[in-house]
């Protein structure tokens, strides 16, 4: 049996999404920016997708800019958010952000933007007092993720946005892990800038969007042929955009109807693990979490060894965030919650999707305990 529980890394593309994309890989291959009707007729599909994305997050279509993915959206938000007002060079983000935010922030810090890092508490949610202490009249942008990719912890975005706005700064949220999984409402949550990525909710890879509230002065990040009001140039990736739109449309239904199923399967997985693997600890239980994510510490048992054995059993999970290098630094997300390095190195992340079945969870609960037992037996710590 093959079980894929690494949906926070990437998801299976919905067949409906592929169907929606296919015409644009075949005979609808024109350039939407063209003068001729063969190309320009395609612009309506771009605009439909823009509407679908806007609807998913409560935005106006004019506030949606298509990008090549979450990383680009994050980079864009930080780059121009951090440079709109020379009087406000300060940048604030949290210690548990994805590298797409954190590394960009570090880069901007080196380029002269004072950087403040908001702490998290032991439950994994951001410490609002710490944010309150950091913001000032010199802060240009605050970026706090909507939901953490490793722990699934959902952050207090509205409260963070309010604190940010009181200080006169812009508020960005990396909602790459939240959009498509839980309701997100840019207006109600007072979000100025938001990043999302299609492949995290059954859309195609290589396409995403940046929401930018009307009235924000944008600075182009990608200079060129003036697509996306000059903000983000480059020939439209129409198939990708249409796929993102379709995925957004499907996600609205998922959130309102199917998220409960995923959530029930996650609960079953968690309680099964706690029962079958003595000593296992679920991370972030005191916080509100995504309905699909659980990170478990298998104390004294090294995570990569677990990953390898569980992979042999046909189960795909991850330890912390997927990383393209072979280096194995302990997850900074976990250690910043006060978890020891040794314990952080026992973490396994299970992330479900709407395609996860009850049988798959049963299979995991059957395969996992003997693996943990076997490794515990050769652990010098246990």
């Amino acid at each position: 049996m093959k079980v894929y529980l690494d949906n926070n890394a990437t998801t299976r593309m919905a067949p409906e999404v592929l169907d929606a994309m296919m015409p644009f890989f075949n005979d609808q291959y024109g350039n939407p920016s063209s003068f001729h009707t063969f190309g320009s007729n395609l612009m309506e599909y771009i605009e439909k997708a823009r509407q679908q994305v806007a609807d998913l997050i409560g935005a106006d279509p004019s506030e949606i800019f298509f990008t090549s993915g979450g990383t680009e959206s994050d980079n864009t938000a930080l780059f121009f958010g951090g440079e709109t007002d020379p009087e406000k060079p300060g940048l604030i983000t949290s210690v548990v952000e994805h590298p797409a935010v954190l590394k960009t922030a570090r880069y901007l810090e080196q380029a002269g933007h004072p950087l403040g890092l908001v702490k998290v508490n032991s439950s994994g949610s951001i410490d609002l007092d710490s944010l309150e202490d950091l913001v000032s009249g010199k802060t240009g942008l605050v970026s706090i993720m909507k939901a953490n990719n490793e722990t699934g912890v959902i952050m207090q975005i509205k409260e963070a946005a309010e604190i940010t706005h009181r200080a006169g700064a812009l508020f960005h949220t990396d909602a790459v892990q939240a959009v498509g999984k839980i309701p997100v409402d840019v207006k109600a949550e007072e979000i100025d800038l938001l990043s999302l990525s299609a492949h995290k909710f059954h859309g195609p890879k290589g396409i995403g969007a940046l929401y930018a509230r009307k009235g924000i002065k944008l600075k182009p990040f990608m200079h060129g042929g003036h697509q996306e009001k000059g903000m983000r140039s480059g020939t439209y990736n129409i198939a990708g955009i249409v796929g993102l739109g379709k995925a957004a449309e499907m996600a609205r239904n998922f959130i309102s109807e199917e998220a409960l199923i995923t959530s029930a399967l996650l609960e079953k997985l968690e309680s099964g693990i706690l029962k079958g693997c003595p000593g296992a600890v679920i991370v972030g239980t005191e916080a509100v979490r995504l309905p699909n994510t659980a990170t478990v510490l298998f104390i004294n048992v090294e995570s990569e060894a677990i990953l390898t054995l569980i992979d042999f059993a046909g189960i795909s999970v991850s330890s912390g965030s997927a990383c393209s290098t072979g280096s194995k630094d302990p997850s900074y997300v976990l250690t910043s919650m006060g978890i020891s390095v040794a314990d952080a190195n026992t973490a396994i992340r299970f992330s479900l999707s709407m395609y996860t079945s009850n049988e798959e969870i049963d299979y995991v609960l059957q395969e996992l305990p003997p693996i943990i037992e076997k490794l515990r037996k050769i652990s010098p710590y246990a």
Binding site: N300, V301, E302, E304, A305, L307, T308, L309, F312, T325, G326, S327, K328, P330, V341, A342, N345, K377, I378, S379, P380, Y381
Partner: protein, 186 residues
């Protein structure tokens, strides 16, 4: 991969002759390794435990298989590349995992040698200043050391009261190094 799925020599030894606890500076993972050494200085038994990745487990399994039966000198000369070769290759970024096993064996051998040196030193002290009780038995004989092992010393040329000589020496060694060392007389 079989060495990961079914690691050989995983576990601990009772009263090991050499023991090590090492950690990898690259990844923070850890390993313990125990050896039993016979009187020919060969590794008679070897076991490891690890908090490490699949690579570390497989490499330790391979290493212990290679080392078992080797003399300490031979085992000390095992190169990391031999482990990788034994496993049929290892990704570059996992190289440090096999190094951890390699380090563990070196450390266990060092630990064995340190302990043996301690035993030898203690024994030499006794012979340098032979206790009166023993001198009375030995007369003007000089004990020859045949072989020293952390847990046992083989000697010869003690005359006929072997039982008594061994008893005295064992008591003296116990006093000096705080561990039971068996004295065998050839």
């Amino acid at each position: 991969m079989d060495h990961f799925m079914n690691p050989r020599n995983a576990g601990e030894l009772d009263n090991p002759d050499g023991h090590s606890e090492v950690g990898s500076p690259q990844c923070g993972d850890a390993m313990t390794l125990d050896i039993k050494v016979d009187d020919d200085d060969r590794i008679a038994d070897i076991k490891f435990m690890t908090f490490g990745c699949a690579g570390a487990i497989a490499a330790a399994s391979a290493l212990t298989e290679i080392a078992k039966g080797m003399t300490l000198e031979e085992a000390g000369g095992i190169k990391n590349s031999q482990i990788v070769e034994f496993l049929g290759g290892m990704p570059a970024e996992k190289y440090h995992c096999s190094v951890m096993g390699h380090d563990a064996l070196s450390e266990a051998i060092s630990n064995f040698i340190t302990k043996r040196d301690a035993t030898a030193a203690a024994f030499k002290e006794i012979l340098d200043e032979v206790p009166t009780e023993l001198r009375n038995i030995l007369g003007d004989r000089t004990i020859s050391i045949v072989h020293v092992h952390p847990g046992r010393v083989r000697i010869s040329n003690v005359g006929t009261d072997r039982q008594k000589v061994a008893e005295i020496l064992e008591k003296e060694l116990q006093n000096r190094i705080g561990e039971t060392v068996e004295v065998r007389i050839a």
